[in-house]
Amino acid sequence: MHHFANPTRFLRLADRIQPWAASLTMAFVLSGLYFALLSSPADYQQGETVRIMYIHVPAAWMALFCYTALAVSCAAALIWKHPLASLAGRATAPIGACFTLLALVTGSLWGKPMWGTWWVWDARLTSVLILFFLYLGYMALNNAFDDPERGHKASAILALVGFINVPIIKFSVDWWNTLHQPASVIKMSGPAIHSSMLIPLFLMALAFKAYFVWVLLIRMRGEINAMKVRALRMRQVHDAEQNRSTPVASEAG
């Protein structure tokens, strides 16, 4: 009967994790920024603009990671009907959309010096833009119904359909010739960039991940509260019905 199992246990767990997530975020951001801005070298080709990488790449990774997390929680919500799963999906989507936007914006900022233009219509960039629309579509559908339950289910189906886009983004650089550079960190043969860049990159990636957990918990707490408010509303309606205590119309038969 997990449908109306009270989420108190989850909240207690969240209370314990949240301070850790917050402090880890701070620690990783500070150390990551130190390495990224001060102790790592400028690129021999790209100069100082290479430092955009320490935001851009982790943000792009998080954009993909969040969508995967969204799809997994939507699948869990549809198959096992666990209310926390659908809640997690709803809480993840806006965070993922923000990371996607961040990746798009930092990518554009980087593109201007590197490629001489803010935007090109190549496979990688376009598929990320589509990812952004999918996030927006998920959120829009989620909120489009008077009955929230219906919005959650419909948007979960959409999120699963849209998951097709994630491998397309990942492999777009391999399948099509594009301006965007192919994977150099995460690939079979091991990372192909120097460790002085790798360390800050990973520190920032960890920082983003911890930040994600932190914000996710806050947002889930908010969602749970919203549900409680809803339940109170319902009770108000029901109590009003009870107070009138109207007699049922005379029995048939």
């Binding site: 829009a140 489009a144 289910k153």
Partner: protein, 222 residues
């Protein structure tokens, strides 16, 4: 199979008696295309250059607009609820409705397209390929769009919402549909593009009825 035929026949029947359905989709298609010479100016070589793209984009928008009501009317008058409760697999019902929809809207688009291509100064060599690409592409559009049409049932602002949900999913069809035509005009091989269009069609044929049926069941839950 018998119920498949029953449902297709009834939907065609409804569409013909209500009249204008097909006509209106075609006219939207034509008007949307005709807006472009007004928008981008009448220079023939610019128009020629963008003809295939504009026709495909207009076809996407027309297909999307007409799909909005694929399940909507049945949802509103209670038919959908009854359909879900018939001893007929819902997937069959969904694919029957999509078939009827494509016959009444997709087919007329394909017929109208060459005329618009003439209006936009497209090179006559491309006409055949335009038709072929649309014939392979529009069924995919109907199939993909059916998912969106099922998801938005009962939502506020269905029309705009639908566009947000399915236009991103239409993009692969658009890309390969246009490149098939462009490849013909440039004298290159069209085989890879047509193969991908067919693959898109087959995979949406395999996937969409199931997802659409699941979405419809979901819509009935409330």
């Amino acid at each position: 199979m018998n119920s498949f035929v029953q449902i297709v026949r009834r939907d065609l029947n409804l569409s013909f008696r209500q009249g204008m359905d097909s006509a209106m989709v075609v006219m939207f298609f034509v008007i949307a295309v005709v807006l472009f010479p007004f928008g981008v100016g009448p220079e023939p070589n610019i128009l020629m250059r963008i003809a295939a793209g504009v026709i495909w984009v207009a076809a996407l928008l027309a297909s999307m607009l007409s799909l909005e009501r694929l399940f909507q009317a049945d949802f509103e008058d209670g038919s959908l609820e009854i359909l879900v409760l018939q001893p007929v697999p819902l997937e069959i019902a969904v694919i029957a409705k999509i078939t009827a929809h494509w016959i009444t809207t997709g087919l007329p688009l394909i017929i109208a397209a060459p005329i618009l291509a003439v209006l936009l100064n497209m090179n006559a060599d491309g006409f055949g390929m335009l038709i072929a690409a649309l014939a392979l592409g529009t069924p995919s559009l109907s199939l993909i769009g059916a998912i969106g049409a099922a998801l938005i049932l009962g939502a506020r602002r269905g029309g705009v919402l639908l566009s947000l949900l399915i236009l991103p999913l239409y993009i692969p069809v658009l890309i390969f549909g246009v490149s098939a035509v462009d490849a013909t005009l440039a004298g290159l091989s069209v085989k890879p593009h047509l193969l991908i269009l067919s693959a898109l069609l087959l995979s949406s044929l395999a996937l969409c009825p199931w997802v659409g049926a699941a979405a419809l069941r979901q819509a009935m839950r409330s």
